[in-house]
């Protein structure tokens, strides 16, 4: 109440930027990626996208009502969480597990902290981390892209009855005329079989991956749109990708026979998707200019450490969650000096 109010003479102009406007534009920018993934994986990917997003919206609405909060559906943030979450899940992920992850994302990842802006962690990644721990087999069961019957039938595992184990999909995959489907992601093939998938295969969208991971160029273009319209801090994805590439480059310099090229590192797994759409979540990333660079670099390096030395094949998710957890500290230690203040002034 006692804040000084700065008075300026008219005319005033509204910048036109508000939470719903930014969020709506993020959703628009993700639509091409969704369309590409539906083209790749067909009906199953479409069903997954719709179901997970609906689960997120429904959870948000129910929890708003239960906690007597105003309806926050129209700020579009729950929709972003839903779409992002679906893009990080395998395309033939059972829908009921998708609903579980959507519920966890909104309920535990966001509502328990107090809603949008108070959440410490990116809600979509909280949801994914939960199902990764709960259903480790289903979340590493992949189906090939461009299967012949992808627009006419669902993958059998998509419609698994709630609480039940998804059926084996190898028979279904055999029916599709897809050549040389390995069932392992490029990262897993590098880690366990020492095979580096070529950049061509990674870019064509045919590599084994989560629903929205393979379209690296498309994701970067969408990110460019957001950055150009200043709806996203361009420094975060640049810092993440640059630090990951630099780490990969150093390791390759040290042992070229074992460690893959920086290009493979950037294009495989969910690094680009995570860097552009998840690390940049405004509520969970730092605000200071220096802090943003540190945050991005931490995510890039930690991702590479998990990929190279961890038990998991992909580390983007945990790296971003760790970056989220560090955000308040990064912000605190990188406060810019107030103009005119003495350097060593302590109150």
């Amino acid at each position: 109440m006692s804040q000084p109010i700065e008075l300026r003479a008219a005319p005033h102009q509204h910048s036109g930027r508000s939470v719903p406007v930014i969020m709506r534009n993020v959703v628009y920018s993700m639509l091409p990626i969704c369309a590409f993934s539906v083209w790749q994986y067909g009906l199953s990917a479409l069903a997954l996208l719709l179901t997970v997003t609906a689960a997120c919206l429904l959870t948000e609405r129910l929890l708003n009502r239960a906690s007597a909060q105003p309806n926050t559906l129209n700020d579009w943030s729950a929709a972003i969480t839903g779409i992002l979450l679906a893009l990080t899940l395998p395309p033939a992920f059972p829908l009921w597990m998708g609903v579980v992850s959507g519920f966890v994302a909104i309920a535990i990842g966001k509502a328990l902290f107090g809603g949008l802006g108070y959440n410490v962690f990116n809600p979509a990644l909280v949801g994914r981390a939960f199902v990764q721990a709960a259903f480790p087999v289903a979340i590493t069961t992949w189906v090939p892209a461009f299967a012949t019957q992808r627009f006419s039938e669902l993958v059998p595992s998509t419609l698994t009855a709630p609480l039940m184990m998804p059926p084996d999909v190898t028979a279904w995959i055999k029916q599709q005329s897809v050549d040389a489907f390995t069932g392992a992601t490029p990262l897993a093939r590098w880690k366990f079989e020492n095979v580096a998938v070529s950049a061509n295969d990674l870019l064509s969208g045919a590599a084994t991956a989560s629903t929205g991971e393979t379209s690296a160029i498309l994701i970067l273009l969408c990110g460019l749109y957001l950055a150009a319209r200043k709806f996203m801090d361009w420094r975060i994805p640049v810092a993440v990708l640059a630090s990951a590439a630099a780490t990969a480059w150093l390791f390759q310099l040290y042992d070229p026979a074992h460690y893959p090229s920086p290009l493979f590192v950037l294009l495989s797994g969910g690094l680009v998707l995570g860097a552009v759409f998840m690390a940049t979540d405004m509520a969970t990333s730092p605000v200071t200019p220096l802090g943003v660079w540190i945050y991005g670099a931490v995510i890039g390096v930690v991702t590479m450490m998990i990929r190279y030395f961890g038990g998991l094949t992909e580390g983007v998710m945990y790296a971003i969650l760790l970056g989220n957890a560090l955000t308040p500290f990064i912000d605190q230690f990188t406060q810019p000096r107030v103009f005119g203040a003495q350097k060593d002034e302590k109150p």
């Binding site: 597990m97 480790p136 289903a138 698994t160």
Partner: protein, 211 residues
């Protein structure tokens, strides 16, 4: 320091219910979290741990209450710990004699009952100030409350994590286990869920709400 501590020795329903509901060690006081989170991967483990703790709790409180006027207060904590440790050792042997499988499942947490703060807390706050019968009833209530708490966690985690309750399959062989529930993080998730539920239940009568 105006009045000498005049303990109320009358036994009421609340003497028992205090530990079950009003001061439930798991859901309200959030005490003894070490075994609560660690051994509740299945209903039977949770129940056994609860019964073992209740046995130690009731017998130590009985003994401590009986000798409460003989023990000089300077050495009371040491005396209590010796008594509690004795009963824990008894339980340790008993469980080994009954089932080695259970003993291995509960692991070090049987010995760690010694440092369960519910027990020393009851001894210090209740048994040392009240006659044996009242202490035993109160300790039994606490034990039952603790067992209920452990069972609530263990049951939930076994149902979601394995699709079983007491080893009996509930959903058929195609059930998809929620692996996270039998891992340590699952303990925290389920405990959080139960704490939330209990907080809701306890706040309802105050607001006279309800459906």
């Amino acid at each position: 320091m105006s009045l000498p501590e005049q303990a109320d020795d009358s036994i009421t329903l609340d003497t028992f219910l205090e530990g079950v509901w009003r001061q439930n060690p798991v859901f309200v006081m959030v005490l003894g979290m070490c075994p609560t989170l660690a051994v509740t991967v299945s209903a039977i483990n949770a129940l056994s741990m609860g019964v073992a703790t209740t046995f130690v709790l009731v017998s130590s409180c009985l003994l401590i209450s009986m000798i409460r006027n003989l023990v000089p207060k300077e050495v009371r904590i040491a005396t209590y710990i010796v008594i509690i440790a004795t009963f824990v050792t008894l339980v340790d042997y008993l469980i080994q004699a009954v089932s080695l499988k259970l003993y291995e499942a509960l692991g070090a947490f049987i010995q760690l009952i010694v440092v369960n703060c519910i027990i020393l807390g009851r001894a210090e706050a209740h048994a040392s100030k009240h006659p044996p019968l009242k202490s035993v009833i109160n300790a039994l209530g606490m034990g039952v409350g603790f067992t209920i708490g452990l069972f609530a966690l263990g049951g939930t985690r076994e149902i979601l994590g394995a699709g079983n309750l007491f080893g009996i399959s509930l959903f058929g062989e195609h059930f998809q286990p929620w692996v996270v529930m039998v891992l340590p993080p699952g303990g925290f998730f389920v405990l959080g869920g139960w704490l939330l539920l209990f907080a809701l239940l306890r706040s309802k009568p105050a607001t006279e709400g309800g459906h």
